[in-house]
């Protein structure tokens, strides 16, 4: 046998005795990384939007927005209101979690008025005639420090009368 180089232990470094587990640890971690990529493809970590709908005799509201986000992400929400009856003063009320640690880049078309309704964001859209559709687009950017899980709500009012609404859970990954 050739002279063994210093610090080389043949049992350990040539015969790999006691190192059988190393390869399996490597394989398991690689498997976990693959699972992570597959989960990302399946939208587990956001940002693909999903649609939620609330319906009432007076109107239907469809919200198209991602419920799973990541910090720093730019994203948009589309509020699609279809009036079945005349709505004299449509007001979209969003819970504060929509704006908490989130930059609202733009709201199109601009609401007629923006106020606070007991801590919620109240966007006055104006009248919507029966059979008409009102599309509101909002562009957001989640702040890098905004991480966690919280609920957000959307409500549609006609003046002071609540027509419909729903809650969602929003998850923000770091």
């Amino acid at each position: 046998m050739a002279d063994i180089p210093d610090a080389i232990v043949l049992k350990r470094d040539r015969d790999l005795e006691g190192r059988e587990g190393e390869i399996w640890v490597r394989r398991v971690i690689l498997l976990l990384l693959t699972a992570l990529s597959i989960a990302a493809l399946l939208n587990v970590f956001g940002q693909r939007p999903s649609t939620s709908t609330a319906a009432a005799p007076a109107a239907t509201l469809e919200l198209n927005a991602p419920t799973h986000l990541r910090s720093g992400l730019l994203w948009s929400a589309r509020f699609d209101i279809q009036a079945h009856q005349d709505i004299k003063k449509a007001i979209l009320v969003l819970s504060s979690s929509w704006a908490e640690s989130t930059a609202i880049n733009t709201i199109e078309p601009s609401p007629v008025d923006e106020t606070s309704d007991n801590g919620k964001l109240a966007l006055t859209l104006g009248p919507i005639k029966a059979g008409n559709r009102y599309l509101l687009f909002m562009q957001f950017q989640t702040n890098p420090t905004n991480v966690g899980r919280r609920s957000r709500s959307v409500e549609l009012f006609d003046g002071t009368t609540r027509l419909l609404g729903f809650d969602q859970t929003m998850t923000i990954y770091p």
């Binding site: 046998m1 002279d3 610090a7 470094d13 040539r14 490597r26 910090s71 720093g72 770091p174």
Partner: protein
């Protein structure tokens, strides 16, 4: 605080990744590997500092990574039984001119690739090699018979 936390998480993640993907990938810097390295660096930077363009942010990020790097190095130096986990052990792939198939397969190395490395060390054939060892850095060390 957030940047320091992100630096810790990313440091740990990159550490695990470099230990898992194997030494061979780390030691070679072919053009494709070099481009990948830049892409990985860019992706990590964005996750690390995000929209923070401040000098304070950069100092926190670099400082945290430096401290972690020294901590890993010191741990490896002071606690010998953790050294194989933190740095890895060498693997003998050639003994007396004979390739050790099991070990080469484990490192995803072919005889041709070993010979290519050998030629770069002015070694013409396997017969001249007494020992070839894949070091924990991924580089192959050759000890010739002469």
């Amino acid at each position: 605080m957030d940047i320091a936390l992100r630096a810790v998480v990313l440091f740990a993640f990159i550490f695990v990744i470099t230990r898992v993907i194997g030494r061979r990938e780390l030691s070679s810097l072919a053009p494709f590997d070099l481009i990948l390295l830049i892409i990985v660096g860019d992706a990590v930077q964005q996750g690390l500092t995000q929209d923070d363009y401040s000098v304070t942010g950069a100092i926190i990020a670099v400082g945290t990574i430096a401290v972690l790097q020294v901590a890993v190095s010191y741990t490896s130096f002071r606690i010998p039984f953790l050294r194989p986990v933190l740095e890895g052990n060498p693997i003998v792939i050639i003994e007396d001119g004979n390739p050790i198939e099991k070990n080469m397969r484990r490192e995803r190395l072919t005889v041709e690739e070993v010979l290519e490395q050998a030629r770069q060390n002015q070694i013409a054939s396997l017969d001249e090699i007494k020992w070839a060892v894949v070091e924990s850095s991924g580089k192959i060390s050759f000890i010739t018979k002469s």
